[in-house]
Symmetry: D2
Subunit: 138 residues, 4 copies
């Protein structure tokens, strides 16, 4: 049950839902974003996806697989697992739980760029060093 991983708790709000009575599919990315921002705040001390005046991270890929619907007021925990993806990117893998049910899983991949030149750059060392040995092939 992943007890050692980082997770972020929150509630489903009315604006997360749509007229099917459940959370709108694109709304899960809000939960992914919240969890990755909190992860980065806690692990790297950064206002993610901004690193400094030169470097920030931009999303190059996103994916979600929906297993069970979520409804207004549901309490969720979004687990985050980060890995380097080559020398310039980070992959965040997410699993969202409501109690013991895994309701959604997915990922976002973010590449470090020089924000002026808008070109990919190497992962800042301070970040690469704090990400577990795990790496993802791309």
């Amino acid at each position: 049950m992943q007890t050692k991983e980082f997770y972020w708790k929150e509630r489903v709000h009315i604006y997360d839902t749509d007229s099917q009575g459940i959370v709108h599919y694109a709304g899960y990315y809000r939960f992914f974003t919240d969890a990755s921002e909190q992860y980065a705040k806690s692990r790297f001390g950064l206002n993610w996806p901004l690193v400094n005046d030169k470097v920030w991270f931009v999303v190059v890929e996103s994916y979600a697989r929906y297993r069970m619907p979520l409804r207004l007021g549901d309490e969720i925990r979004t687990y985050v697992n980060a890995a380097t993806a080559g020398s310039k990117a980070i992959e965040f893998a997410f699993k969202i739980y409501r109690n013991t049910d895994m309701v959604c899983e997915g990922r976002i991949v973010q590449v470090a760029i020089d924000k002026k030149a808008w070109k990919a750059v190497s992962l800042p060392r301070s970040i690469a060093a704090r990400i577990s040995g795990r790496t993802v092939k791309r």
Copy 2:
């Protein structure tokens, strides 16, 4: 400094901002919604704006006045002050603070309706009773 009022703390996320580098004006209503849902959860024990199988609340008016911009990572406290507005409506007044600066104030007004008939009904007593004596003329 309103220390006795209910407030809800949260952080500004990347999706709250727009390309002007600040929180998008409509995004403040997300903060208003979060705070009123938490207020209702704590005071009424409800998954606001749903009361029961028959009654829920719908928004009939919203207003915001923006005083200072908010940016990614800002920590805010949204203060909530609820009042009855006639026999069928509630008015939530909000003030958003970043540290000691009041950055935004506004309100939403919600009317109790019979969700099948979609007609206004009297405020449920359990709710009216828990709202401070204060009332707003409309």
Copy 3:
């Protein structure tokens, strides 16, 4: 029936709705934004709210009054009426119609600022000149 005013047509999408089966109250500001951006594109030839490298417009006030619910697939027309509000601001007034029913009305007020200094500046002449003689007191 306001036939000479500018209006913008669009459909209500699933993401505009919430679990009450109707458009979420904050979603109407998306319609207001769409209509004002199209108005400014057509009247001023600008990517509103950006004017040039120095000046852009920021929202200082927003208001909406909801009269009838909107649902998925509804076709709407958002009428825009712009006025100067003092020497530095524009007020956009909106009325949203579904067929002949006025379902929502509201406004947003935007102030011209120097984006570097983040200080209010006079309305650019090219904009002020193209706004009808009408002016709003503030």
Copy 4:
């Protein structure tokens, strides 16, 4: 250049962007949703994802790959290619173009369900029949 495929044109709005000055990654799903709703309106005559009082479609998977950033005011065309995915699902594949540049591609997979029982059901014939012979293995 896919001239025979269905596409939907729209502009990037200020609320689609975030403080990195580009469209927020989750915002592209709004473009996907718009295009699939318009596709279904035009091909099936439906208020997608609703089919009738019994059946509607829910999203079980979403994916996007971002190739180039989009900015406020950009004019885009979202191409839609639909295929059956087994007997109960539809896969919509999307490619978003700005002029001749393909800026984003992705997909959403939707399963037909009985909305009362919340169980997967066979694709309605009227829909299956109107989807090109193409099918996707899952």
